[in-house]
Every structure is written in C-alpha cells, then in structure tokens.
C-alpha cells in the first residue's frame, strides 16, 4: 500500500484539509483526557483548542515554505482554514457540550427522566424542589460569569456594571432593536 504524496498536493488543499485534521487530533485529546468533565471545563477546552491551533498555523506556513510554494495568494485559504478550525470547536463541539452540560431546559428534562418519570403529585413536588436548589446554583454561577468576563464587578455584596459591560449591553440592545427582537 502506498501513501499519497502529500508534497505534490496543492498547498491550498493541504491548508484547508489540515484544519479538520488538527481539529480531529484535538477532539481525540478531549475525549482521551476527559477535558469536558468537571465544573469549569469551558475555559480549559478553549485553551486546549487554542494550543492545537499553533501547530496548525505552523504547518500551514511550513508546508508551502518547504515545497517552495509560499505566497501571499495562500492567505484566503489560511483564513478559510482558520475559520474551519475554530468553527468546528466553537459552533459544533461547544454547541453539543453546552446543550448537554449547561442548558437549563435540557437539565430539567433530564431530571424528569432520572427522578422517575414524574408520575404523580409527589414526583412533581420532588422535581420542583430539586430544580429550585439547582436554579440557585445557576444564578450564582451566571453572576460569577458576569464578573469573570469583566462585565460587572463585585464590591461587597453589590454587583456594579463596568464600562465594558455597559458597552456590550448597549451593543446587544442596539442589535435586538434593529432586528425588532425581544429577550425571552
């Protein structure tokens, strides 16, 4: 069996196909090292994804350089490759992990299933008690997130909006107004 001669392949194709290839390696590491487990996995996953981007960027530069085809015309292919690499993580992988881990509604559905199908008033009461405890945790978690992202700061027991938070909120509100949308 012969391996295809990768050095003969067009540099654009190599740059484009290397993006999903490097992402697959990153995905294998996520699965093998159980990086999605634990409480604060999001920052860890983003960091690891960024770490795997470095060899991808280097390979995208070194391959055309080594084969004597490095030119500015490869920049659009590299831009598309970067978009493919980051979108596979942020749009597809994180959507699945976010749905399974963070979605409030999905967690309620999951609890209805695990708390015995919710048959009868007693089961419904048990579910509501369980969800109440979790909602308090979610509220605290999101408040922390606001401070971690620099949108608010905690002073004593008070949360104060930062200029960054005010700017982001204004931007979001302007977009919602332009699109004629209302927060749910």
């Amino acid at each position: 069996m012969e391996f295809p001669d990768i050095s003969a392949a067009p540099a654009e194709s190599v740059i484009l196909w290397a993006a999903p290839a490097f992402f697959c390696v990153f995905l294998l590491v996520v699965l093998a090292a159980r990086l999605a487990s634990g409480k604060n996995c999001t920052a860890r996953l983003h960091r690891t994804n960024l770490l795997f981007f470095i060899p991808y960027a280097l390979a995208s530069l070194l391959f055309p350089a080594a084969t004597g085809r490095l030119s500015r015309s490869l920049l659009p292919a590299f831009a598309a490759g970067c978009f493919i690499y980051f979108s596979l993580h942020h749009i597809y992988l994180m959507a699945f992990i976010g749905l399974a881990k963070k979605s409030f509604s999905v967690n309620i559905l999951s609890d209805i299933r695990t708390l015995g199908g919710g048959r009868g008033a007693a089961a419904l009461t048990a579910l509501l008690a369980h969800e109440s405890a979790k909602t308090a945790f979610v509220r605290q978690d999101r408040l922390n997130q606001m401070t971690v992202l620099g949108m608010a700061e905690l002073r004593g027991s008070e949360y104060r909006i930062t200029p960054r938070g005010r700017f982001l909120n204004g931007l979001g509100n302007a977009m919602l107004k332009l699109w004629n949308l209302r927060r749910l």
């Binding site: 996520v30 699965l31 999605a36 487990s37 634990g38 996995c41 015309s73 659009p76 598309a80 978009f83 493919i84 979108s87 749009i91 959507a95 699945f96 749905l99 399974a100 881990k101 409030f104 509604s105 999905v106 967690n107 559905l109 999951s110 209805i112 299933r113 199908g117 919710g118 048959r119 009868g120 089961a123 419904l124 509501l128 109440s132 909602t135 945790f137 979610v138 509220r139 978690d141 999101r142 408040l143 997130q145 606001m146 949108m151 608010a152 027991s157 008070e158 949360y159 104060r160 909006i161 005010r166 909120n169 979001g172 919602l176 699109w179 004629n180 949308l181 209302r182 927060r183 749910l184």
Partner: protein, 159 residues
Amino acid sequence: MYATLTLSVSFFTAAVAAHLVICRATGTGRFMLKGLLTGFVCFACAAAWEYSAGAPDLVSLYLVLTLWLTYMVFFINLLNSVTLKMLARLAEEPSGTLTEAAFQDIFNEESAIKIRLQDMRVNGFIKLEGGNLGLTGKADALLKIVFLVRRAFSIDFVG
C-alpha cells in the same frame, strides 16, 4: 479561493438581509423556525448555484452553513443567555448596581422553572396532565442524544 470566499460571504450576507427584513416584519415569535428556514433556503440556493456552475465546492458550502449557524448562535445567546439578561437588568439601574439579594428576587426559582416548564410544554417536550408530568417522544429523542454526548465526553457535572 477568492471565489469561494466571495460566494460564501455573498450568500451569507443575502441571508442576513432577508432574515433582518423577516424579523423586522414579524418580531420575536418563532425565531428559531424563521432562522432555520432562512438558513436552509440560503444553503439550498448556494448548493444550486454551485451545481449549476459545475463541480460543487464543498468548502464554500461549509462556509455558508457555518456562517449561518454562527449568526444563529449569536442571536440565540443574545435572546436567551441568563448572564446577558442579568447584565441588562444591571444596566437598567440608574446607579448601575444591584445587590445579590435583588438578583435573587428577579431571577428566582419559581419564575425560572415556571417559564421553562411552560416553554417546554408549548414546544411539545413535556406533557402535564393533572398532577402527572411526562416526557414526549420528542424529548426522549433529544435526551438520547444528550446522554450519548455526556457519556462520550465524560460530562459529569451539569448546571
């Protein structure tokens, strides 16, 4: 490659413009359905264009699809994110401050659970008959995927 990028961005921009017009005319109701339909039409048009021009360019189709999903994810977060709702509430205060206790009154357990349960019932995920709460087939199918993802990625902490 320039042609691929130009084509993807052109179809995506046209879809955003169409979605903007639709949203301005119809508001927030059925946001997901309208977004998915617009995205599907945009993707189908891009595929038809590619097919009519000869060999379909998979990179271009991937870019169109993913740009649209990125746009949808952005708006879904803007509309639903609890963190952004908290931020909006904080920004509404003239002093720009709120105590932890005030957040507890605004985002309390009762209203949060009630709203979600009502949404899930309207969207056909749960059925509430008398005192009995049950999952629909749609919810079962969704949970199968969720449990599979949790198992595959060793997700042991949710919330």
